[in-house]
């Protein structure tokens, strides 16, 4: 959907990516005892860069929704247990807290944007 300000569409992508990451962390936590399960995650920075780079050309032709699917990859370099599972609880806990704060930040910034628009509508009152 085309947003009223460019920052809002960036923030929308930011929230979507945070959401994807939270889901990856949830599924890593859910499979903490599944034999052979490999930790999944997205590379947040590069995905955000990729999404923001493709956003302007999507909005230019007014096709509506931005079709962006973040790439979920296996995380390399984690210590593997004998059953083939490499979920690290400390890592997941830390990332869950981080993505929660990221989400909160995105929501606060979106609220700030809408307040600005509302303030413009009300003529600065």
């Amino acid at each position: 959907m085309t947003q009223p300000t460019p920052l809002l569409s960036t923030l929308e992508t930011y929230l979507k990516l945070t959401n994807t990451r939270a889901q990856a962390i949830s599924s890593n936590m859910a499979n903490v005892d599944t034999p052979g399960y490999r930790t999944h995650d997205i590379n947040f920075e590069s995905e955000l860069r990729r999404a923001t780079a493709m956003a302007p050309m999507e909005t230019a032709d007014n096709t509506g929704t931005v079709h962006f699917a973040p790439v979920v990859r296996e995380v390399p370099g984690l210590l593997e247990r004998p059953d083939g599972n490499n979920v690290n609880l400390d890592r997941e806990g830390l990332l869950l807290a981080e993505s929660q704060l990221q989400y909160q930040l995105g929501v606060q910034l979106i609220k700030g944007q809408f307040h600005q628009i509302l303030s413009a509508i009300n003529g600065g009152n």
Partner: protein
């Protein structure tokens, strides 16, 4: 792919861990059971966890198909297996289940090992419950955008 999928993934883990706790509780409760419907002593049981999609290709495919009730990345119990270890024989000639030499077959259950397994299950449950709380607060924040 939305926040409610994350909720159902954590929910599937809560359900799987609860079933695992039930099986462990049954093992501990039947540590001294010598008589079962199938005959012989109780057999220790174990759960096998499984995740529906293993490769990222299947993950992506499942995400596009939007299969209900089978969110990629969730966990479920694929089977409950019997522990094949032989029963422990104890000499109790007066016992109704004693064999001709006076030995009674008891299930090979180590309460300490079961307790450790139960603790692991409880910790995993707590972890996923905290993930549910985190997802819930994210959904609540999304709703808060609508408030001024």
């Amino acid at each position: 792919m939305n926040l409610f999928d994350a909720l159902s993934i954590s929910g599937s883990a809560l359900s799987a861990e609860r079933q695992r706790s039930e099986i462990i509780a049954a093992n501990m409760a039947n540590a001294e059971t010598t008589h079962t419907m199938a005959g012989g002593p109780y057999h220790r049981r174990e759960v096998v966890f499984e995740t529906p999609a293993t490769s990222s290709f299947r993950l992506a495919l499942a995400a596009t198909r939007q299969m209900p009730g089978n969110v990629p990345g969730s966990v479920h119990i694929s089977q409950v297996v019997d522990d094949p270890s032989p029963p422990v024989m104890r000499y109790q000639p007066g016992h109704p289940d004693a064999d001709s030499q006076g030995y009674v077959a008891y299930p090979a259950i180590n309460p300490a090992a079961e307790m450790v397994d139960l603790m692991g299950s409880v910790r995993a449950y707590q972890l996923n419950a905290s993930a549910v709380a985190a997802t819930k607060s994210m959904i609540q924040q999304s709703i808060d955008i609508l408030k001024s």
